[in-house]
C-alpha cells in the first residue's frame, strides 16, 4: 500500500532536483533567444562572406530569401561573388537550416512577422521590421556618415552585431555616439 506513495515522492523529488540544472544550462541561450538573433556558427560561411562584408546572421532572412541570394552570386549586389560547387552547397545548407523561419530567436520572429508569406526580400535592410527599427535615424548618421555608409554595415554601429545582439545598449554611431529612442 505504501509503495505508490514512496515511488511518487521519489519521482517528484527527482523532478524538483532537475529544475535548477535545466535552467542554468539554458539560461544564457534563453537570454540570447529572447533578445537577439542566433550568432553565425559556420566557419566556412564566416570566412567566405566576411571577406567583403559582415557575415550576416542567417536568422535575419527567411529561407526563400537566402535561396534567391545564393541563386544570384554572379551579380551579388553589383559584385561577383561566385563560389565553387562544394562551398556553395555548404553555405546554402547553413543559411537555409538557420534561416529566420526556422529560428525562435526574438529578432528572427519579429522579421518573419513583418513579412507577408510571399515577400522575398534579398536585403535585410528592406524587411519592414528592420526598416521600422531604423526609421527615426536621420540619413546624416547612416547614409551620409562616411564611417557607416549604409544600413547594410550593421557592425559599424551595433558593436555586438557579431554576437547576434542588436539592442540599443550596444549601439555606438561613429562620430555621434550612443543612440537612445
Amino acid at each position: 500500500m505504501k509503495h505508490p506513495v514512496v515511488i511518487s515522492s521519489i519521482i517528484i523529488t527527482a523532478f524538483v532536483a532537475m529544475v535548477p540544472v535545466v535552467f542554468s544550462d539554458d539560461r544564457r541561450e534563453y537570454r540570447q533567444r529572447s533578445v537577439g538573433v542566433a550568432p553565425v556558427s559556420s566557419p566556412t560561411y564566416e570566412e567566405e562572406c566576411s571577406s567583403c562584408h559582415m557575415a550576416y546572421p542567417p536568422g535575419l532572412l527567411p529561407a526563400r530569401s537566402w535561396k534567391k541570394v545564393m541563386a544570384g552570386l554572379e551579380t551579388h549586389f553589383g559584385d561577383n561573388a561566385e563560389l565553387d560547387e562544394e562551398t556553395f552547397k555548404n553555405i546554402s545548407d547553413f543559411l537555409i537550416s538557420n534561416s529566420a523561419d526556422t529560428s525562435d530567436y526574438r529578432r528572427s520572429r519579429k522579421i518573419m512577422r513583418s513579412l507577408n508569406s510571399d515577400d522575398t526580400p534579398i536585403r535585410i535592410s528592406e524587411t519592414p521590421y528592420i526598416k521600422h527599427e531604423h526609421d527615426e535615424i536621420p540619413d546624416k548618421l547612416i547614409k551620409h556618415n562616411k564611417k557607416v555608409n549604409s544600413l547594410a554595415n550593421c557592425n559599424a554601429c551595433h558593436s555586438k552585431a557579431e554576437q547576434g545582439l542588436y539592442s540599443e545598449h550596444g549601439v555606438n554611431i561613429p562620430g555621434f555616439g550612443r543612440w537612445d529612442d
Binding site: H53, N80, E82, L83, D84, N153
Partner: protein, 137 residues
C-alpha cells in the same frame, strides 16, 4: 653549451620566419606551372604591373575600374572594398605573410575580380603576369 643553445634558437627563428615564404612560393609556383601548361609564358612582372594600373570601364557607380580601385597602387598598403568599405589586407607578401599561400583562394579571387574589373575572366598569361608582379612586392 651556450653556443648550442644560441644555434638552436637561431635555427628555430629561421624556420619560423621562412615557413610562410616557402608556402607562398609553393602556392604561387604551383599556379604558375599550371598556367604554363595551359600555354602561358613565364609570368612577366612588368606586364603584370601594367595590367595592375590599367583602367577598364564598368557600370555606374564604378565606371572606372582597375585593380587599384580596391587594392590601391601600392600593394604594401591595405585596400578598401569599393562598395562595402571593408578593409582588405595588403597583397604584398613582404608585409602580409598569408598572401598567395592558398591556390584555391588565388583562383577564386582571380575569377571574381577579373570578371568585376575587366568584365571577363583573365587569360592564363594575364594571370601569370599579375602573379609575378604581386610576388615581387
Amino acid at each position: 653549451m651556450k653556443n648550442i643553445l644560441i644555434g638552436f634558437i637561431t635555427a628555430s627563428v629561421f624556420t619560423i620566419h621562412s615557413a610562410p615564404v616557402m608556402a607562398e612560393n609553393n602556392a604561387a609556383n604551383t599556379l604558375m606551372k599550371s598556367y604554363q601548361s595551359h600555354g602561358a609564358m613565364v609570368g612577366n612582372a612588368k606586364n603584370g604591373e601594367k595590367f595592375w594600373n590599367q583602367t577598364f570601364t564598368g557600370k555606374a557607380p564604378f565606371v572606372e575600374r582597375s585593380c587599384k580601385t580596391c587594392h590601391t597602387a601600392n600593394l604594401k598598403n591595405s585596400g578598401e572594398h569599393a562598395r562595402t568599405g571593408k578593409v582588405l589586407k595588403p597583397l604584398a607578401p613582404s608585409v602580409n605573410a598569408s598572401s598567395l599561400t592558398k591556390t584555391k583562394k588565388i583562383k577564386k579571387w582571380f575569377k571574381r575580380n577579373c570578371k568585376w574589373t575587366v568584365g571577363r575572366e583573365c587569360s592564363v598569361q594575364e594571370k601569370a603576369d599579375i602573379l609575378a608582379f604581386i610576388k615581387q612586392q
